[in-house]
């Protein structure tokens, strides 16, 4: 065996060792750069993940599409507590379609509209996440605010889940978090309508000023705003109701039991999710200000501060 052969064999062996040594768990199934993000679809440890610029936007179990989603998607079921007879729901932001999938499965009678800005996300969601556009689920490829401004429809619930993601984390598009936006959304809600806002930020300091600002801004339009923090990720779902009536956890648990008994909501974890309810506002309300179209530094100073 000469040196060259020896070297070749050694190189081949190293390559083989490297290949077996590589984790087979994470595999990029598809990737594309759209006008907005570098989007990847990754299969990892039995889950399929939708990633924008490296972040995790959506996750679903490859074995059972009804599990594996992030917890905030289940917090999007809280509007039923205020209206057990919802028929029209708008979701702003598609991603991997977790929210839509759960709504289509558990409430097949509900008319869903989804607004998604990025056409690439719509096709990826349909192809890789089995998001279904049906007679009761229409996807509109446009900006959420532009859609709300033009539609004549009234919704029982509007679920806000639109984010843009960069190298330094996720940002709320500022025009979807201002007083003018919530006024527009409120005008498109039915009498007892509810708006849910998935806010990336939490009460322990991480982007707390964003959470506080969005809370305060929603409170300037909706008579009541409640918080439902997720336990698995740093998200809080803010629930703004057109109903002026204050509620308590005991009252909501009673409603949850009642609508579960009537088979309105059959989501397995529903009563557990309701217990995430927090009546008290965030502690930083006096420090933050209401966001307006004129002044909303959501991607600037507000993001930089991670304090309580």
């Amino acid at each position: 065996m000469n040196a060259v052969t020896k070297f070749t064999l050694l190189a081949l062996a190293s390559l083989a060792w490297l290949m077996t040594g590589l984790p087979a768990r994470a595999q990029t199934v598809y990737q594309v750069t759209s006008a907005y993000h570098h989007i990847s679809v990754i299969d990892s440890s039995g889950y399929r993940v939708l990633s924008f610029n490296g972040s995790w936007e959506s996750r679903v179990s490859l074995a059972n599409p009804l599990v594996g989603h992030f917890e905030y998607c289940e917090l999007f079921h809280t509007p039923w507590l205020w209206n057990p007879a919802m028929t029209n729901v708008l979701v702003v932001g598609l991603g991997g379609g977790s929210t839509q999938r759960l709504y289509q499965h558990y409430y097949p009678f509900v008319n869903l509209d989804t607004v998604e800005l990025d056409p690439a996300v719509v096709s990826i969601s349909k192809y890789y996440f089995q998001t279904k556009e049906t007679a009761r689920h229409k996807i509109h490829t446009m900006d959420g605010r532009v859609y709300l401004r033009r539609t004549q429809k009234k919704y029982d619930a509007i679920l806000m889940d639109a984010y843009s993601t960069g190298r330094y984390g996720s940002f709320i598009p500022y025009h979807l978090a201002t007083k003018e936006f919530f006024t527009l959304a409120s005008a498109n809600l039915t009498e007892n309508g509810v708006l849910c806002y998935n806010v990336i930020g939490n009460l322990n300091g991480f982007r707390a000023d964003i959470l506080g600002s969005v809370y305060k801004t929603m409170r300037s339009v909706f008579p009541q705003v409640w918080m439902f923090p997720a336990s698995d990720t740093g998200n809080v779902v803010l629930v703004g109701t057109k109903s002026k009536e204050p509620v308590t956890l005991a009252e909501l648990e009673k409603r949850a039991r009642s609508i579960a008994k009537d088979k309105v909501v059959t989501l397995p974890n529903f009563e557990k999710r309701v217990r995430a309810f927090r009546a008290q506002p965030p502690a930083n309300l006096s420090r933050v200000s209401v966001l307006t179209d004129d002044y909303a530094p959501v991607d600037g100073v507000l993001t930089g501060t991670n304090r309580r």
């Binding site: 990025d118 959420g144 033009r150 004129d294 600037g300």
Partner: protein, 208 residues
């Protein structure tokens, strides 16, 4: 002294153009959504304005040869910019609302609408600000022998102003001021440039 004033003029002109571009993109976002086409439109429209401004600015400089002439452009442009917060929202609203409601806007219009909106609001003030550079080159170049140095200095100052405009708008102004305040301040700055042109006109007249 006159040279310093002219250099300051093109520096501030370049600054104002980029404040209008960056803050303008933010302003258009809420009406046209998705940042990408808004940015594409805004950059394209501002470059069109610059191109036209250079062309006409150079010709007008040859024809009028007095800095005073620029006040006739800068005063209307300053007043226009001051009024952006008052007229632009209604103008853009009309543009967005012209599509039939309850039908999705075609992808073509989703792309072109922000360009139209941007042109209606930002083409004129950016055009006027762009005329300053060729105009100043004509006024400062005493003889053919120094045209290279003069035009180089004017380009450099105007671009340096634009660089400052980009970073100050994006990193500082957006965090601390409302959009309407920034537009009004830029309008005020443009009127200030008109005043500077009047001073420059007299200073250059004395010199000859």
């Amino acid at each position: 002294m006159q040279t310093a004033a002219a250099i300051l003029l093109v520096f501030l002109g370049g600054f104002a153009v980029m404040v209008l571009e960056i803050i303008g993109a933010r302003f258009l976002l809420k009406d046209f959504g998705g940042a990408f086409y808004v940015w594409t439109s805004q950059i394209g429209v501002v470059l069109v304005a610059l191109s036209l401004g250079y062309w006409f600015g150079g010709r007008w400089a040859d024809r009028f040869q007095r800095a005073r002439f620029l006040t006739w452009l800068l005063v209307p442009s300053g007043l226009f910019t001051l009024a952006i917060p008052d007229f632009a929202p209604r103008l853009i609203d009309a543009l967005v609302s012209r599509h039939p409601a309850d039908a999705d806007i075609s992808l073509l219009w989703q792309k072109l609408d922000p360009a139209l909106g941007s042109a209606l609001v930002f083409l004129f003030p950016c055009f006027v600000l762009a005329t300053l550079s060729p105009y100043m080159i004509r006024l400062l170049a005493a003889q053919l022998g120094n045209v290279g140095a003069v035009s180089g200095a004017v380009y450099a100052a105007s671009t340096a102003g634009s660089v400052a405009g980009v970073f100050i708008s994006g990193y500082v102004l957006l965090d601390h001021l409302g959009l309407s305040t920034i537009f009004r301040a830029t309008g005020g700055l443009t009127l200030g440039l008109a005043g500077l042109c009047l001073w420059l006109d007299r200073a250059l007249a004395r010199k000859t």
